[in-house]
Amino acid sequence: MQVVVCVKQIPDPSGTYTYDPETHFLVRPDEQVLDDTDRYGVEMGLQIAQEHGGTVTLVTMGPKGSMQGIRQALAMGADRAVVVDDGDLKGSDALTTAQVLAAAIERTGFDLVIAGTESTDGYSGVLPQMLAGLLDVPALTYATQVQAGDGKVTIHRQTSAGYDVVEASLPAVVSVTAGVVEPRYPTFKGIMDAKKKEVQEYTASDLGVDTSLRQRVTAVEPAPEREAGAKIEDDGEAHLKIVELLQQKKVI
């Protein structure tokens, strides 16, 4: 089973994001981290490859920088990584990203592609679906449970009412929700091994993808601020203030 996991390096989300004042693109520092939600996909991929025999290839697009985020995922146990880094891809929309990833994945070969449902820094939320469309395979989305084998994949797909059990033949794309599995922590050996693993690099032109921008952000303005109200220190009686406000708002 050839498993491909799409991952993304993002600026540390615990810090403040900065945007280029001209283009309004997110400024990406050299040191980026693995998007936390991608750890679930990597873990899922490792478990499936382990169960059926096979390899896990990471595919990513973006400035590689120090590669810290990719090494994090390799240290978990992925076999190799494919990195598409090209300055011309700055500010790309989800479709260009999907075209790049699809071209890289076609070169790698795949039975199963796993991705998160959305990234933490861009959250367009349509990448896995676009990727599946370009690869002409089914997209089994928002998986809270995944089983793959015997040429097919079955998932629990999150719905607004609960979940559906959905099945398709491989090859397929699966998008996983955070919490689908418990991601492992890299071991010391894993971290050491990650430094020696194969990393294949491409540019957009290597893959034959058009990098012209389709959408642009024309303005960013501060939102009208919501006025903060009273802030009180709990002196043991603060709950009474809450009761008072709830009465005022006719909740009780």
Binding site: Y123, A139, L245, V251
Partner: protein
């Protein structure tokens, strides 16, 4: 007049609420066609008409996962009818169909819009950034149709009293190896008011300290006839199910009163609840960002404030 198509999924036999919100907006932009995905019924079509759809394209995928066949059929219909704009909600099946349709047509998707307009053939959308502290305007020019995903609760639902729309069948093609099948539907038991339409919400975050402490949130909610919510942090930690998540990757809510217990107010969370009419926050950290949107902020420990609040309400 611009032609605007609105994708609407059937939920429990009726049009999904976000679809009716989009119809309400769409009729100010042009002539409205509803793309309705589900079993369909006279009543459902009438509801679409009442909210401004003059035409319905009805697709019934049966037990097929809708994304691939509906996107393929829509791509064909878009090529022949050339609508200016196709609107989707930022919702599960909507995202699946929009992504696949865009890949097929080679179009950009504008995601997470909170407003949308058509100007001189281009689509202009408004987005909240950095937890809603900044408003970005984005634009896509070029070939039609433009594809936009709109966050739920961006527009009110207002019936316009329109007559029964003209209903046409949208035939779904065989999508070969892209097909997927739904084997079973599971409906989770739901108790009490639901997040999407509750007047009062009590939500918990990491400040609760443990999964067990979420019980305080549930007890308070019961006393106030409120729905319970949660931050992404405690959903990811497995304390509560994903269906409770409020925020960027969860639900957008606008209740009359939102009580945030042990929630620091990460951007991710704020964007989903900051438009609540009244916000009450309890948090130990006086510098927590949640206090910047709270009408009443209590700097204190949820483990002492919540039990006292519950007791005070119980003794009333």
């Amino acid at each position: 007049m611009a032609a605007v198509w609105v994708f609407i999924e059937e939920e429990a036999g009726a049009p999904a609420t976000v679809g009716l919100e989009l119809l309400t907006k769409a009729r100010s932009l042009g002539d409205v066609t509803a793309v309705y995905v589900g079993a369909g019924s006279e009543q459902a079509f009438a509801t679409l008409g009442e909210h401004g759809a003059t035409r319905v394209l009805h697709a019934d995928p049966g037990d097929a996962l809708p994304s691939a066949p509906v996107a393929a059929a829509l791509a064909t219909a878009c090529e022949s009818d050339a609508p200016d704009l196709v609107l989707f909600g930022q919702a599960y099946t909507d995202r699946d169909v929009a992504g696949r349709l865009a890949a097929r047509l080679g179009r950009s998707v504008l995601s997470n819009a909170v407003d949308v307009d058509l100007r001189d053939g281009a689509v202009v959308t408004t987005h909240e950034m950095s937890g809603g502290t900044q408003i970005a305007t984005a634009e896509v020019a070029g070939d039609k149709p433009h594809i936009v995903l709109v966050r739920p609760k961006s527009f009110p639902v207002e019936p316009v009293g329109g007559s029964a729309p003209q209903v046409e069948k949208l035939e779904l093609p065989d999508v070969g190896r892209s097909a997927a099948r739904i084997l079973e539907h599971h409906v989770e038991e739901r108790e009490g008011p639901q997040l999407e339409d509750a007047a009062v919400i009590v939500a918990g975050g990491r400040g609760l300290g443990s999964a067990e402490a979420y019980e305080l949130v549930e007890r308070l909610a019961k006393l106030l006839n409120a729905a319970t919510g949660a931050t992404r942090a405690i959903v990811d930690a497995g304390w509560v199910p994903y269906a409770k998540q409020v925020g960027q990757t969860g639900k957008t809510v606008k209740p009359d009163v939102y009580i945030a217990a042990g929630i620091s107010g990460a951007m991710q969370h704020l964007v989903g609840m900051k438009d609540s009419k009244t916000i009450i926050a309890i948090n130990k950290d006086p510098d927590a960002p949640i206090f910047s949107v709270a009408d009443l902020g209590v700097v204190g420990d949820v483990h002492s404030v919540l039990p006292k609040l519950i007791e005070a309400l119980e003794s009333r």
